[in-house]
Subunit: 311 residues, 2 copies
């Protein structure tokens, strides 16, 4: 990636089933070698990683990744030893937030990015910097409780924002709706695919005008917007950007999200303005671009961050 | 107040019914004159104010105070003009948090103070500094939504943390309980006082062993602890301190609060430790001491703040 966020070369590998640290290190070393041997290889001068899971900052150790087999993996140290390149490792939501704040359509200094996909990832930027919590293990907005009696989340808790406002929630709600209405569009779309309802079916049905599917987006957006309002009471964001797969549904998601963020906004809007809720600039690319940008700012060109003068 | 937080002189005045800015300025000017004329008057070198309401930082303008008649009051400017003394004005929860972080039983750099009284006030300290949001109008943890279907809050919204975890919530729940059980202890205590049930009656009954009153504290503590867990997912606090009138109920409040903060804690505790929930050091005095301390650190002795070296 170049300084302006342009991607010069790209390589994708799926996470192997056995995603322990040794397997992952082998895979990553191979990928770095392949990229350095390619057309854009001469310019490679640093590595930035945006990793799923809980990453201790700045040491870049992955402390916990509920969906993978590694734990307490010194990813930054391993990459630096293997490649000799300066490396930064951060949570994927954090770096995606950085990309949106610095290189999105407008520059923002106090901003929340919510990545609504399978889960709800978050990037919080305060005063132009990524906010990560006291030790880099914070900013886990998706696991803020929004209803103690809510459904169980992948993390084990009940009623996290992620449990009611993610693609997983959409799938769960879509399956319940299809079970109650076996002749409805959701059940038909799933049957055509020969399986159970998933979030993509709900999106397709909602975009085709199915009122049941649209009501599920209403419900999901309302939960998301209520969570956003609570975060605005604390952080006074300039803007809240929504990224991730579900933003493809456009106003079906953003409309109810905005309405709830307004309904539950704290204080008179002429005193505490209601932040706009907008779609993110970089869809699936924010993590990749943000990781590169962070590597640039932290290891090569710190002055590039151009932080506000009051920081 | 001295540098160590010792209070040298104290003067109390009730807010007049007509709490417009002119009336309040007259009152405050009189109080400052009286204090400067007293025994400790020679040492008066700055003014620190901890004000209820939404205070723009650092300019010290009170933008909005739902329970008073002033709005957009340049309190800092007025006090400096009237007294000639350097002045700081901040939200009362913020300065109370500062007092607890710097001068409490232990020093904390990443800490939440929740002041559970009529409402729920909050002081967030991050990296040794008060966190106020982007413009000083944030950190309003009491108005974070914890249940979109919850009861109406004094701010007008429904389901704020304050609406379910404050003295006002305790009063509301106590009245409902007494209406359902007119022979119960709550109804009797209210009748003895010749009025309706209030939070104090619920506390008295709970401390005397009344199971109904104790269940209301369970409910209140559970809501408070759930909110705390969500904030810990974002901030990774070292500790959460509980102050305000309701902390007099001790373990009746703190027990269920701790249990819920643990139940809804995000991540394995060996990776993300569960912060302790402890009673605050300074009960009703935290705001006063914190306001003095902030004046000292901001206007006279900034080096006294002793901020961590990584800040």
């Amino acid at each position: 990636m170049g300084e302006d966020g342009t991607v010069h070369a790209e390589l994708r590998r799926n996470t192997p089933d056995t995603s322990d640290a040794t397997t992952m290190n082998d895979l990553l070393r191979g990928m770095v070698e392949e990229l350095r041997g390619g057309d854009a290889g001469d310019g490679v001068c640093a590595i930035g990683v945006g990793a799923a899971g809980t990453v201790e900052w700045p040491i870049g150790r992955i402390r916990w990744a509920p969906n993978n087999n590694y734990e307490n993996w010194d990813l930054r140290g391993d990459l630096e030893r293997m490649t000799g390149l300066p490396t930064v490792v951060d949570n994927d939501g954090n770096v995606a937030g950085l990309a949106e704040a610095r290189l999105g359509e407008r520059r923002f200094d106090d901003m929340l990015l919510l990545t609504v996909g399978t889960g709800v990832g978050a990037g919080i930027v305060l005063g132009g910097r990524i906010y990560r919590g006291a030790h880099g293990l914070g900013a886990e907005v998706g696991h803020m409780n929004v209803n103690p009696d809510g459904p169980q989340c992948g993390c084990g808790n009940f009623g996290c924002l992620e449990s009611v406002a993610s693609g997983t929630a959409l799938t769960r709600m879509g399956r319940t709706a299809a079970a109650h209405d076996p002749d409805g569009m959701l059940a038909h779309l799933a049957a055509e695919d020969g399986g159970e309802v998933n979030g993509r079916h709900v999106t397709t049905a909602a975009m085709a005008g199915d009122p049941t599917a649209q009501s599920l987006f209403e419900r999901l957006g309302r939960a998301l917007g209520t969570g956003i309002a609570g975060l605005n009471a604390i952080f006074e964001f300039e803007v809240v950007l929504i990224g991730g797969g579900l933003v493809d549904a456009g106003e079906l998601l953003l409309g109810p999200t905005r309405r709830a963020a307004r309904e539950f906004h704290y204080g008179p809007p002429h005193v505490r303005p209601i932040p706009e809720v907008l779609p993110a600039t970089y869809k699936g690319d924010a993590g990749k671009i943000g990781a590169g940008l962070l590597a640039l700012e932290e290891t090569i060109a710190p002055e590039r961050a151009g932080l506000p003068s009051n920081e």
